[in-house]
Amino acid sequence: MRPVIIGNSTAAIAAVEAIHQYAPEVSPVLIAQEALPPYSPTALIALAEGRIQEKELFFRDAGVYRRNHVEEKLGKRAMGIYPRERFVILENGEQIPFSKLLIAAGARPKRPEAPGLGDGEALTLRSIEDARRLAMRLKASREACIVGAGLIGMELAQAFLAKGMATKVVEIMPHIIPASFDRAAALIIQRVFEERGVRFFLNASDLSFQSRNQSGVKQVSVGGTSVGNADVILWTTGISPRIDLVGGTLIRVHRGIWVNQKMETSVAGIYAAGDIAEAPDFFSGEPAMNPILPAAAAQGRVAGMNMIGQEAEFPGNLKMNIFAYFGRVAFSVGEIVPSMGDEEVVIRHTAQEYGKILLRSGKLTGGVFVNLDVEPGIFRAMVASREDFSSSKRRFMEDIRSFSRVWMMRRRTEGVGPREGFSRTGRRVPGNDAGLAQATLPIQQEHKT
């Protein structure tokens, strides 16, 4: 009876490596639909564009299973889970018994659905197959229509522009990238794309498609009016966690598979992590979806550790997203709109730049930054620190870059002081806690103090 993992991307591999780190004698079983080494959907656009080749896509090579003592069942799809009987059933009928189970099966892209849109006429981008299909289509495409102006949609818009394609973007919400940016930030980003010829149709309703005489070309209509043609349609409206996998069981689901701080589901010994999991929010502790790579990595690791009895706790889902576009950077951490009683401090707002932080009882609950000089990782660490910054609001406005860097430097040296080492001259010198310093700034606290 061994631990079993369903999944083969970020969360699953993080769990595999955590299990191997702490219990190298354990040999987990890994079940995955695709007979491929692990890859992340994050890199698929670059693949489709041709910026990377397939050999660069995989974040671990095929030897990762052997190295981590994993018995892999690649190319086999998990169909159902029997929690009481403690086994997973595969598509071919094979039963895989488990002592502990991690469900890291991720999510599938939302199905393209619109009047006039036939099966397969719109592309999604979630698997390597999708990327290959898109790459093929792009060879002959001139006009693109992207449905859904989230981060993926906007990355695609950037890629299509680079290929000299005419691009239109349809979005149901009033501004682009609504999950990661507020209106002010979104407008700045949108303008940069519009200057390069991308057309946006926001607040879009009644999206429909009509056939043209040429095959492969469709006319796109929004609100009953034609907005032009498209010879490739990308459907990037979001993802749906594969909760169908736990259908018929007592494993509690809401929007995803519900888990506690240990990434354990409502059934003892069964865990979930990654895009499929609904884990406590960093601030409220309420269950929240957080389908971003850093969360999957952290969650997978915590789940893996708990599965082999090495106690770990997930500090909570903290939203964070970063968007690189045309040499510019926009990012957000945590909340992007204030809740009741939150303080919103706009530190900069020009035609090109935008920066805003949110505070709740003096503690940072979030920030949005467009083209502002500040290290995203340091700001994220400031939010995660739960420190009281109420006396420093002015510093954020005056010079956020210096302020955040000095904050980080201070934190790194506080409480630990200089450390002994052997310098290049051979003498004993004080230094800093460099290599071990992350102990003072954990992204995830793994051991309860």
């Binding site: 970063i322 340091i378 409480g415």
Partner: protein, 437 residues
């Protein structure tokens, strides 16, 4: 495996940016500071300057979030390297790194970061104030990993015993060219000095009385000195045999200048015989002879400061040790082994899960807390020169330390404040001795 990393002391940085310039020149052939991998910030408002740069972390957060696995820590040289062909410029790493050590290269749609110039960082030599240094950290760990444990496995110390950990670590460094004396204590009772014709120690060991470790070891040392044989004679004694009944002989040996390496493993009580109070039991602590009840709430008297007392004897080397700070621990044992002109007194902090009433798995954490709260400051006096070897710039309140174990659980807030005052006072004295502001 040698792993050296850049060590940064922002307090020494003058903000000259010569490191930025050296890196830019090396990496881009230009003086464009914007493309340096090490970026200096000046902050007059904080009265602090300092560079940010990749710290080549032991468990790099950037590598955990890279979607293509472009960031990998090289197991040979410790450098966190970026494979350019794999980088898609998603910038997730820039969001993950809490030190701001990796940066976007907008034009190339990639990121860039420090690669330690393959092991010879160019930013080093221009740094006149020596805010930057290149420090070899793992030499110690590597050395410890391959040195042999001078005690056998299977000794019967309690789970989580801080004393066992300290003794084993110390003896790993001291090595086989040593003779140890093990006073009546947990160390003896758990098998180190052995039974009949077997010993728990791989090196010669003998068993003095509780009162006379220093005297008996003097005799052994003098014998080998007369025979011109270089061998370390190491006393392994508890706090009872050091501060109380053994102090007389220790003080005499110190005054005579006997070249013995005396290590007191301080678990703040006579633990072997059932957790009785000793001269080093801190004020307020519960023990079986200073119980918590109606007429008494723990020990009424303050502990003796034996390391300071020994320093006042004028011995060539005195130091406090804590296994939770291994580099400091190792450096001090090594220094002790160099001393030939008198007695060396080392005091090693040894948490006792049973006697202090804490969970066995918290031993190392508690040892670390003791230093972080300045309850047990790490210092040394080398031929009269005092130095706090691990200053706590922003130390934690001693309450955190007291809360971590049951032996102080009865303390009232007023008593906790008293302990804090005692800690502060002790530190003030140490700072005066070390001539620190």
């Amino acid at each position: 495996m040698a792993e050296s990393i850049l060590s940064i002391d922002p307090r020494k940085c003058t903000g000259c940016k010569l490191c930025d310039l050296a890196c830019a020149r090396e990496k881009t052939g230009t003086g464009n500071l914007e493309r340096s991998c090490i970026k200096t910030t000046l902050s007059p408002a904080d009265q602090l300057n300092g560079p940010i740069v990749c710290l080549h972390c032991q468990e790099p957060e950037c590598a955990k979030v890279c979607p293509t696995g472009a960031l990998v820590k090289n197991p040979e040289n410790g450098i966190v390297a970026m494979e350019e062909a794999k980088c898609i410029g998603c910038l997730l790493c820039t969001m993950a790194c809490p030190y701001g050590g990796i940066y976007p290269d907008g034009d190339a749609q990639k990121v860039y970061k420090c690669d330690l110039c393959g092991g010879h960082p160019r930013c080093l030599s221009p740094c006149e104030p020596e805010a930057l240094d290149f420090v070899d950290l793992t030499k110690d760990y590597a050395a410890l990993a391959v040195s042999e444990d001078m005690l056998y496995p299977g000794l019967s110390f309690c789970p989580g015993c801080g004393l066992e950990l300290s003794v084993r670590m110390a003896l790993k460094v001291i090595g086989p060219n040593a003779i140890i004396s093990v006073a009546p204590s947990c160390t003896a009772a758990c098998g180190v000095s052995g039974f009949q014709d077997t010993t728990g120690s791989k090196i010669p060991v003998f068993y003095p009385l509780l009162t006379n470790s220093a005297s008996m070891l003097t005799g052994v040392k003098r014998h080998f000195q007369r025979r011109n044989v270089q061998v370390h004679t190491v006393a392994i004694v508890g706090d009872g045999g050091t501060a109380d009944v053994g102090f007389q002989s220790l003080s005499g040996a110190a005054e005579r200048g006997e070249n013995i390496l005396y290590i007191c493993f301080n678990n703040e009580g006579y633990m072997n015989t059932g957790i009785q109070r000793s001269g080093t039991t801190p004020k307020g602590a519960w023990t079986t002879t200073t119980p918590v009840g109606r007429s008494m709430k723990g020990k009424k008297q303050r502990a003796k400061n034996i390391p300071l007392l020994m320093a006042m004897h004028g011995v060539p080397y005195v130091a406090t040790l804590n296994f939770a700070y291994p580099e400091d621990f190792l450096a001090k044992i090594r220094r002790a082994m160099e001393i030939k002109d008198g007695l060396i007194y080392l005091e090693a902090f040894a948490p006792c899960p049973v006697g202090w009433k804490h969970k066995a798995e918290r031993t190392i954490e508690i040892a670390r807390l003791a230093v972080q709260t300045d309850f047990f400051p790490l210092w040394e006096a080398d031929h009269g020169v005092f130095r706090i070897t691990r200053p706590m710039e922003n130390r934690r309140s001693v309450k955190k330390y007291l809360e971590s174990m049951g032996k102080y659980s009865h303390l009232e807030p007023g008593e906790i404040e008293e302990v804090q005052a005692g800690v502060d006072e002790n530190l003030k004295l140490l700072k005066k001795l070390a001539d620190r502001p």
